[in-house]
Symmetry: C2
Subunit: 347 residues, 2 copies
DNA sequence: TCTATTGGGACAAAAAACGTCCAGCTAGAA
DNA sequence: TTCTAGCTGGACGTTTTTTGTCCCAATAGA
């Protein structure tokens, strides 16, 4: 933050919030266009009246246009969005927080997006977009990419857009179904990534909750073995981070599983592994899929998770996460993580 | 204006006015401190409520302090004032206007201060302060300074403040009484300048409206002749510019004088000379004082006049003003001058 | 052709801003 | 020392603005 902006904020303290709010609205319109007042008010977490007031202003400023199909961002609007991007980040202290988190989590890079996806649904899309941009940059040098499931991963796939299709790209489902609904399964996500980028994808279909013997047998099957080999060659891993209990519930885990997860003090989940607050593996779902050791061999790992509710999980997972991990998260999660670590230090 | 501020203003168009308003209030407090709400509201041209709202905010921001004696600017406030000075000027387009006026009026430099002194009394003080700063810079190399009268000149004298007294400075009253009230006479102003700077002053006392013979005789008097010689040696001339009719009235000019001024189409007045819209001398008060030719010999001339009502007069005077003149004026006058010249061009 | 969604209009209710006064205090003049 | 002008902070009825909420005609897309 330069001295001028500093002085400006001294003289106009209300500016900060206002700017952030309008920026976010404009950004959300850009992401979801064409979009109407009502839909926008839901996704941006504001009342209809407020959205109306602000969008009227944005139109007067010729930053957006209103047609019968909905509101769209003008080229001027895009320009403003571009110009203020860094400024809004600086102003919200995001750049500072990124550096702090990088140190605390001991990883190579952290990217924080404004607001909290728990409160404002659109933030999830913003996270997705940012992660998509980061991932696209990796496509140039890395072609074998393992992806997991989850709604965050789905958000990334929605925002992927590549200038020219790259047939060399290969997306590998990092896990089987894991009991999640089809839309958010790793298999579906891998297919979506491939479709958006022009690459190919490999899926892993294996029933959950197999008996130990059946599992051992399956692992010898060529189709499955092929996947295991692919995991070894993986360049990039893209994954979400879940709350342990939430994931257990969503996956309809058996009572004994839930018991193990709970008694073990599991906090976070990733790749089907459950971690406690110190990052120790408490439980792992016995199904085929990428192994933690294989993840660690990847040259870059992209972890994506946002929302204040994910703070504890993120903190837990990163206790033992690979160094070359890049975390994409949001302000809500970041602030809570910093709050939690500060509290710990005080004790 | 940089791209960032531009984008900021696109997103927050209300910012501009708000910033200017608060800046002006803060600046005025700085100039008149300690000052109370009511006095400030009068001098700043705003309602008491508004002043109250803004000053409450400024206090919360720790830019001002409120004591029983009145409000004063804190060191933080001063800093903000300093930091935003250039920005506010840029934002109001003053820098642009200065360049335009410089070309139109064909002089070496123009300094424009925000707002209109016709509407906001405090602006006169701001003009005075700026002129004082410019003048002080000239003191280093120039010691013989001729000054005229008028309320604007009085404003300058109020704002003069010099780090260490300079006994070498000599202030010369450019004219005699000219029928104005004592406080705004050139003689009084010269004395005030001298007092503020530690210099000396020379006054010119000569009755107005002398007969031609008496005038000729007086001109031969040593005291008067001495002044005439001083005018020849003048380095710097500081003067105001008046509206012709207004000045005629204020000076209780005789009917025939008023008639000459009116019929000649006089628009402006300076040094007792009356000029028409093309800058031609229409009439001059027959009394001792600096001659136009002597003014033209000075190395620097500081012309100070503000307020929209002075626009025509300024335009008139500068038709034939010396090139090395520096004009200090305000936004109100500047905008009107530009408007008038634009209108002329269209015809 | 039908349906879901859009922007714009409208309006009562709630909230904020405004104009205006007064009381009590204090610094500086007399 | 007393007096007075000018200061802040509090108060309050009256506008003015903002807010929440509906409806409506238009239209894009299925």
């Amino acid at each position: 933050m330069d001295a001028l902006s500093d002085a400006q904020q001294k003289l106009m303290p209300e500016m900060s919030e206002l700017l952030k709010k309008r920026y976010q609205i404009l950004q959300t319109i850009n992401l979801e266009q064409p979009i109407g007042r009502r839909t926008l008010s839901e996704v941006a977490g504001a009342t209809e009246r407020e959205i109306r007031k602000e969008t009227d202003l944005l139109r007067n400023q010729q930053l957006i246009e209103m047609k019968t199909a909905g509101m769209t961002v003008t080229s001027q609007g895009l320009e403003v969005l571009e110009k203020l991007k860094v400024f809004v980040r600086e102003m919200s202290g995001l750049t500072d927080m990124e550096k702090q988190l990088q140190t605390i989590l001991k990883i190579s890079k952290v990217v924080i997006l404004p607001q909290d996806s728990d409160e404002i649904p659109a933030v999830k899309s913003h996270i997705g977009k940012e992660a998509a941009r980061l991932l696209e940059a990796l496509f140039i040098r890395h072609k074998k990419i393992a992806v997991t499931g989850g709604s965050t991963m789905a958000a990334i796939s929605k925002e992927l857009s590549i200038s020219k299709p790259d047939r060399a790209l290969q997306f590998i489902a990092a896990r089987g179904g894991l009991g999640e609904d089809v839309l958010h399964q790793a298999n579906t996500i891998a297919a979506a990534f491939a479709e958006k980028t022009g690459g190919s994808f490999k899926t892993l279909y294996l029933p959950d909750h197999l008996s130990a013997e059946a599992f051992a047998m399956m692992m010898k099957e060529p189709v499955i073995k092929e996947m295991m080999d692919l995991y070894d060659q993986t360049d990039v891993v893209v994954h979400g981070i879940g709350n342990a209990e939430e994931m257990a519930v969503r996956r309809h885990s058996s009572l004994e599983e839930v018991e193990k997860i709970r008694s073990g003090g599991a906090v976070s989940e990733a790749f089907g592994y459950y971690f406690d607050k110190d990052g120790k593996i408490v439980y792992r779902i016995r199904t085929a899929g990428i192994q933690l050791e294989q993840v660690q061999k990847a040259s870059t790992i992209l972890a994506v998770a946002g929302g204040g509710s994910k703070a504890r999980a993120i903190l837990s997972y990163f206790k033992n996460a690979p160094k070359p991990t890049v975390l994409v998260t949001d302000e809500g999660a970041a602030r809570k993580i910093l709050g939690l670590t500060k509290k710990l230090e005080e004790l």
